[in-house]
């Protein structure tokens, strides 16, 4: 690439000193999604206008997706309603990359579910694939070996032509990435409803395990420690939105095309998993963070914010796949299969020897500094100088207006009493056949047979059972059971009860597999938070879930919120997907669903 020289000679680099001297420069904050008061707040924090790199960082880190600005006030209940008794098995709670629970015998388990909805609509295969890749890196960054994945999916109507584009791509992407990583897929959901036509839901869950003493956290501490970026090179992936900034700084012609989609490389991630596990085993990692949404902006600000010092990063040292990338774009790039570690100088040599063994590129790009600033340099010029907490944690918080939707009364009044019922034997037969042949109830092996459920040899239950069960400890057979569930129709009728029903179903599925439920993760898929009706659904669902957890006595350890799943004014059904994790002493003793041998007695329990 010959663009490197030209990009350096461009005079347009926006440095901190330039920003201090030019307070009047117009900045494209609105195009980047910031509100006027948010932009003003950035200026107040910095005492000057932000540089274009700082503006890029704040805009992405203060986005709904990264800052949880609309959901935070509600999600607090998950902490507030958690009692000490519920916390007993909790080793790491909400706030880290993923929560961690103690499952006994010195084993810790971490699990989390996340969404990759919109990217999967744009490019189904790559969107779903990178969704799996992202959640697996979250689990890895806790110090765990990933054990299994699950994929709760929602699509539009089965017979809609666009479903024929989206569904095969999503399923092939989930399988293509997960199979190539060597992670058994032990469950998920496939639901069809026309409300998801323009907004399919692709949620991905990963579970991993480690010894309790091997838990790693995302924090940069220890002045002089090195900041190492390792894994794939950085390209122009997923920075479409930030191009407006880049175009400001390009004189002629604007930036080269920047792809809106990220392409996954599961092989690179598999190697990264094994490499990370070797690094953990050698005790050469002080802090670690995966790079996902918001890329380096997120990783540097979160590591620095969680640590006890500052951080200085030399952005021009980042290995690039596309040499024409501008600093703003490098900060924003969502290139996959990358990690960032904090390493003591005395352990750096050993660290690099391990990455070399796995053929993983690793580069020292910075260090932990005294003080409390995050500084980013571009060829020795300071382009970012911010308090990291203001980027990563102290973003805006909104109390959005809530309003119970007016249509609910009518919806709730129209009970089943008014529906026609089958009157004759033939009608009954016909109803039954239509039910069992419907896409939501029929056998799902046409999807699940595309997923490897056996790799690593620890799968004790997978599809078609209601919970997935995997062994954690090969000696004792100790392991975990997980189920994810949600019925969006129930949640639409009553989000409070709907969320609790999702919780109850997942809880029952885990319990009937023979496991003791321990912890919960959730992926809250909703429409636009700017719609008071949607916001009310969200608030009710969170309240229902938090109350339900209190009654069952197990905590929420982490999750994800996905807003803006709507087309025009029409939102999807509120879809709070709940994942419950339980523990078993010996998973070989799990109970499959379905009878096995003739002569077994059938009991009906409950009311």
């Amino acid at each position: 690439m010959s663009t490197l020289e030209t990009s350096h000679s461009k005079p347009a680099l926006d440095t901190v000193s330039a920003a201090s001297g030019t307070p009047e420069v117009e900045q494209p904050w609105a195009e980047l999604g910031l509100k006027p008061d948010e932009y003003q707040r950035i200026r107040d924090i910095l005492g000057r206008r932000p540089t274009s790199s700082e503006l890029a960082m704040y805009s992405v880190m203060w986005s709904e997706h990264c800052s949880y600005k609309s959901s935070k006030v509600h999600l607090r209940q998950f902490g507030d309603k958690t009692t000490d008794a519920m916390r007993e098995k909790l080793l790491v709670g909400i706030g880290e990359n993923a929560g961690v629970v103690d499952i006994g015998d010195g084993w810790a388990v971490t699990f989390k579910v996340e969404s990759h909805n919109h990217p999967s609509y744009v490019e189904p295969y790559q969107g779903a694939a990178t969704g799996v890749g992202g959640i697996v890196r979250d689990i890895m960054s806790m110090g765990a070996r990933p054990l299994a994945v699950m994929d709760p999916l929602r699509f539009g109507a089965l017979d809609h032509p666009d479903t024929h584009r989206v569904l095969p791509g999503v399923v092939a992407g989930v399988g293509g990435y997960g199979n190539c990583l060597g992670l058994p897929n032990i469950g998920g959901e496939v639901v069809f409803d026309s409300c998801y036509q323009g907004n399919p839901l692709v949620n991905a869950l990963c579970v991993g395990a480690m010894r309790v003493e091997d838990i790693h956290l995302a924090k940069a501490s220890g002045v002089g420690n090195k900041v190492v970026l390792f894994g794939a090179k950085t390209g122009g992936d997923g920075i479409g939105g930030v191009s407006v900034l880049a175009s400001e700084t390009f004189d002629e012609g604007g930036p080269t095309k920047r792809p809106a989609v990220q392409v996954g490389d599961p092989f690179a991630e598999k190697v990264l998993i094994e490499c990370c596990l070797d690094l953990y085993a050698a005790h050469v990692v002080d802090g670690i963070q995966d790079l996902g949404g918001a890329g380096l902006s997120c990783a540097t600000s979160e590591l620095a914010s969680n640590g006890d010092g500052g951080m200085r990063v030399h952005l021009d040292l980042v290995p690039l796949r596309d040499a024409s990338l501008r600093p703003e774009e490098i900060l924003m790039s969502e290139s996959q299969e990358r990690m960032m570690a904090v390493v003591e100088p005395g352990k750096l040599e050993e660290f690099l020897a391990i990455t070399r063994r796995w053929d993983v590129e690793a580069t020292v790009i910075g260090e932990v500094t005294e003080g409390d600033r995050l500084e980013v340099l571009w060829h020795d010029e300071v382009i970012v100088d911010v308090p990291p907490r203001s980027v990563a944690h102290d973003g805006p918080v909104y109390e959005r207006p809530l309003a119970r939707p007016a249509y609910l009364d009518g919806l709730q009044a129209a009970g089943p009493q008014d529906l026609p019922r089958p009157g004759t034997g033939d009608e009954l037969r016909d109803t039954l056949i239509r039910l069992i042949g419907s896409p939501n109830l029929c056998d799902k092996s046409w999807v699940t047979d595309q997923y490897d459920r056996y790799v690593r040899g620890n799968t004790a239950l997978a599809m078609p059972d209601d919970a997935g069960v995997v062994r954690v400890d090969e000696e004792s057979g100790r392991g975990v059971a997980i189920s994810t569930d949600c019925n969006g129709k129930f949640a639409k009728l009553d989000p409070y009860a709907g969320a609790q029903l999702a919780l109850a179903e997942a809880y029952r599925n885990v319990a009937t597999a023979g496991a003791t439920p321990l912890a919960i993760t959730d992926c809250l898929n909703f429409g636009s938070p700017e719609d008071p009706g949607v916001m009310w659904q969200f608030a009710e669902a969170v309240r229902g879930l938090a109350d339900g957890c209190q009654q069952l006595g197990i905590p929420v350890t982490g999750g994800n919120v996905s807003f803006y799943n709507q087309t025009g004014d029409v939102a999807i059904h509120p879809t709070p997907v709940v994942g419950v994790l339980g523990v078993m002493d010996d998973v070989a003793r799990r109970t499959p669903s379905g009878w096995k041998t003739p002569g077994q007695v059938i009991y009906l329990l409950g009311t």
Binding site: A172, G182, Q450, D452, Y454, V455, R456, G457
Partner: protein, 231 residues
């Protein structure tokens, strides 16, 4: 009895193969793709996975790994070698076994419990089976279609070198076809000498009660222990 299990970048079932060797009573030895040394093992398993991502052709890049420089002559000299799935693909790319594996005819990855018929019990890896025995083991692949030209196929049949065949039955959900479009329903083959065997399905997932659909994978690993003793 020391049985090597090779790890390439992208190998996935090396852990399972190691466990299977142990369950069968052997001593597993980890072999590394970059190390041109077999460390005196008595037999070698090339495990399943996606070596180098299998982006070019399955097994095409792994074939040039340093460990293969020593494994190929050893296999030609009679060392028992079992290639499972990706391992089978590596053996074909290395020309230790004939034919090639291509994309499944239905173009999708398939994971299922598959019935096979054991067609040759004279190999180092199949002696603990009965001739014609039907076994159920895990099949999971995206590129498992076994192909070769007619002459090679006829030769394989004539010399009894088809080691395993997919059992094609009505009502198994495949519409009377084998699961990946393999020519003549071939699931696995052996070299002339019977020491090198490759197959697409995964015996290493079928060695422990409670995990996997059966225990039908175990005889692969017990067979080789016997054959090494008798060698």
């Amino acid at each position: 009895m020391r049985i090597g299990v090779v790890t390439f970048p992208g190998s996935l079932d090396d852990h399972d193969a190691t466990r299977a060797v142990r369950v069968a009573g052997g001593e597993p030895v980890a072999l590394w793709h970059g190390d041109a040394d077999l460390h005196g093992v008595d037999a070698v398993v090339l495990p399943g996975g996606f070596s180098y991502g299998d982006y070019l052709r399955c097994g095409a890049i792994a074939r040039f790994a340093p460990v293969m420089d020593v494994l190929v002559p050893a296999a030609k000299g009679g060392l028992p070698v079992l290639g499972i799935c990706n391992g089978f693909q590596v053996l074909c790319e290395s020309h230790l076994l004939p034919g090639a594996l291509i994309r499944n005819d239905h173009r999708k990855f398939v994971c299922r419990d598959q019935v096979l018929r054991v067609e040759n019990t004279a190999t180092a890896w199949t002696s603990d089976f009965e001739q014609g025995q039907e076994i159920t083991i895990v099949l999971k692949n995206g590129e498992g279609g076994f192909v070769a030209d007619q002459r090679t196929l006829d030769e394989l049949e004539g010399e009894g070198r088809v080691a395993f065949r997919y059992v094609v039955r009505d009502g198994d959900g495949l519409g009377g076809r084998n699961p990946n479009g393999s020519y003549r329903d071939i699931a696995g083959v052996t070299n002339e000498r019977g020491n090198v065997v490759g197959l697409m399905p995964h015996p290493e997932h079928c060695v422990e009660p409670g995990y996997g659909p059966s225990l039908d994978g175990l005889p692969f690993f017990t067979s080789v222990l016997t054959s090494v003793v008798n060698a």
